[in-house]
Amino acid sequence: MTSVRPPVLEAEGLTKRFGGQLALDEVSIRIQAGEIRGLVGENGAGKSTLIKVLAGMYRPDAGRISVDGTPLTRTGPSPQLAFVHQDLGIADELTVAENIAFTVGFPRRGGLIDWSQVWELASSTYAKMDLDPPPPKLPAGRLSAADKALLGIVRAISRDARLAVLDEPTASLPAPEVAYLLAALRKLRESGTAILYVTHRLPELFAVADSVTILRSGRRVSDGPMSDYDVDSLVEHMLGRRTRERISAGTPPVPGRVVVTVEGLQPAGGQPVDFEIRHGEILGLVGLRGAGQDQIGRAMTGAVPTLAGTLHVDGAGFRPSDDLRARMAKGVVLLPADRQRESTGPGMSVQENLFPGPRNRSGSLINSSAERTAATALLNRYDVRPRRPEMPIDQLSGGNQQKVCVARLLSRPQKLVVLEEPTAGVDVGAKADIHDLVRDAAASGVAVLVVSSDLEEVAALCTRALIVRAGAVVDEATGHDLTEERLTVLAASSAPAGPPNPAPEGQS
């Protein structure tokens, strides 16, 4: 690695500002040929911004980038850098070879596609990287998840890319396939390709990466060979010292009676899980992306099918056949994470979004003036700004939209609310407001389940948290253990860190 050749990628002093906020603060990174470099940092640390600057999607305010010693001058994408996103952009119905040919270009003869060359191209593209090619005529949708991810990577670097930037390539892979993909990446490295490997799964870095760069609040806080780190020190660098002292802000939970019992509940694609929520408790459910925590919350509320198991809420029992509306009618509701697509009706007014469902009427007709009054009252109570019920909801800021959604849920009597990413894309003030509303609801006896990837939020808001890996509940954090730091370690581990608490054994 200590060659005289210039590094494949050399970025120096990259700075990017959004409004008054520094998203990148003089970040430098240098990657050699045949090196796999890990890039880690908590959400919002600047990883996405760095990738987008490298990809030419953002123009940096300061700093320079060179590839193989040649400075990048244009702002557009450089063909020497390949970017593979989580959403691979592979057409499932088309064959492996066609998927490759759409990127590399279709071989032609006399202006028409030369199909025998197309099949050949697929095999030779894999072979160049010392990888075993899948059958070129196989529809891409029939590949295993890892092979599909690999196809995305192979395709991206097939046009002589010097560096591949992989954004969480294993996030949606089952454990055995992760090992397969990592093995393939090591082969790629031997063929001289450099890789920038972005992940939240820290143990993977120790399996595959040569070195790591750690970002925090837009700054490069540490980098060096993997052998200089262990999981704990990575996390410490990622979070800084700030979470050390902070214990869960919630009052120490006085264990109330059990309100929610989940028994053997198995969402489609997940493991059976068991847990309880007690009166006044705000339970967090955390895990890495794709670990299956969101499916558990969705299965409880009927938003996704349940394969087996039961849910008891305050005496009322639910079977897998009870659908979303049946559960809603008994006070079991979901606040979906995706406001734009799953939670609000864009183009509809705030008032209509507050009262979309069938239970907001007196008699059979909607009384518009009474509804307006009710809407205004809710806007006041939940501090939604501006207080204009007739305004289209998509003209509100993210925080205010979320308050409308929270108001829709919490202004009615509920038994169990499942909140997905309750403060994603919400400003600090609104975040605190929403947390207060959630605490009030819990105090009034509503069972609250918070499914969030914002571990700082879980540590601050929840009274207890369960850790989900591979669809199973594998650990629990309470009291002094309920810190962002501890949750990060627990969620990122690939093997159970402690005694699996209330969970059944079942994950690999």
């Binding site: 954004d167 979309p356 509100l396």
Partner: protein
């Protein structure tokens, strides 16, 4: 990961929203009342050009009578459109209903009220069929209703055997339907009553609001507890009933049953509903907008005819208006989104 940093939308949030809107208030008003304005302009221009004939009782009564059918069909496409679904079968369906109301009386000596009731029930069944194809089997509404429309066209031709059915011994009560009462044609009165019912349905009932929520975001509607499937099916049933009523009225106006009548109503119906969606409540189909749009188009076309345009101009009109109306509503929606983002 890429979506991790979306805090930016809050930093630019609108405490100054009121300021922005004050600036655009004039523009908003023009957009809201644009159709009304257009209608008044059309009336004024052609009254000036043809002072004797344009607003004559005969012409107005004639327009109100014949345009009732277009208006009801515009309503019929508007209801599924609120949920984001197309009904391409209304043209063929109105043709069938029209042939049936004449044929059942003329050939099968069915009492006209019984015949009308049968046709309306059949209309509901046809709507149910469309709705099930779309909501239950997930067939694209455009394709499903295009197919069912062609099926209906087949039934119509089967029923008539390709012949025109001349209503020579229809009861006077039926033939009088198209005549005016106190100067207002009865079909127009029927249309007004149905417009009021639809208005209440859209604006004041939970079922009506569900239509729009489904149209705005199907997934969000589902997760807020709206029965999406039932909402969509109901929309098609309402559409079928409205189309059947339009067919009965069309029969009473024409007094003959012809299989080829009907399909030419499809595009004007869409033009009315879509142009209507650009005004009153911009971006949303609405009863008053559709009413104004249909009237404006009717009077505009009549006026153009009166100043000597040939008959085929109507096709340019309907095609052009459809494209312009949809273009306008996309433009309005885009501006709306941009305003929301800035």
């Amino acid at each position: 990961m890429m979506a991790a940093t979306t805090q930016s939308d809050t930093a630019l949030a609108p405490p100054d929203a009121s300021k922005r809107e004050r600036g655009g208030l004039g523009g908003q008003l023009v957009q809201r009342l644009g159709l009304l304005l257009a209608f008044v302009v059309v009336l004024a221009v052609f009254t000036a050009l043809r002072p004797d004939s344009f607003l004559s009782t005969g012409n107005v009564q004639n327009l109100l009578t014949t345009q009732t059918v277009t208006l009801l069909l515009a309503f019929a496409v508007m209801v599924p459109l609120a949920t984001g679904e197309f009904d391409m079968s209304v043209g063929y369906h109105v043709g069938l209903a029209q042939v049936l109301i004449i044929g059942l009386q003329q050939n099968d000596h069915v009492n006209w009220i019984v015949a009308a009731a049968l046709i309306i029930v059949l209309g509901a069944v046809i709507g149910l069929f469309n709705g099930i194809l779309v909501a239950k089997f997930g067939i694209s509404s455009f394709i499903a209703t295009l197919g069912s429309g062609m099926l209906l066209f087949g039934v119509t031709n089967w029923f008539t055997g390709g012949q025109q059915i001349v209503g020579s011994n229809l009861p006077e009560v039926f033939t009088n339907i198209s005549s005016p009462v106190f100067g207002v044609p009865i079909p127009a009165l029927v249309a007004v009553v149905l417009a009021i019912v639809l208005y209440v349905y859209f604006e004041r009932t939970v079922a009506g609001r569900s239509l729009f929520f489904v149209g705005s975001s199907r997934r969000a509607a589902e997760l807020t507890g709206i029965n999406v499937r039932r909402t969509v099916i109901l929309a098609f049933v309402v559409s079928g009933v409205l189309t059947a009523v339009a067919g009965v009225l069309l029969g009473a106006i024409l007094l003959t049953g012809t299989a080829s009548v009907g399909p030419e109503y499809q595009l004007p119906a869409f033009a009315g509903a879509m142009l209507g969606a650009t005004s009153i409540k911009p971006g949303r189909v609405n009863v008053i907008g559709t009413l104004l749009a249909t009237l404006t188009l009717a009077f505009l076309f009549s006026g153009v005819q009166q100043i000597g345009a040939p008959f085929y101009v109507q096709y340019f009109f309907n095609g052009g208006i459809l494209i312009c109306a949809v273009g306008l509503s996309i433009f309005a929606a885009k501006r709306h989104r941009e305003r929301a983002r800035s």
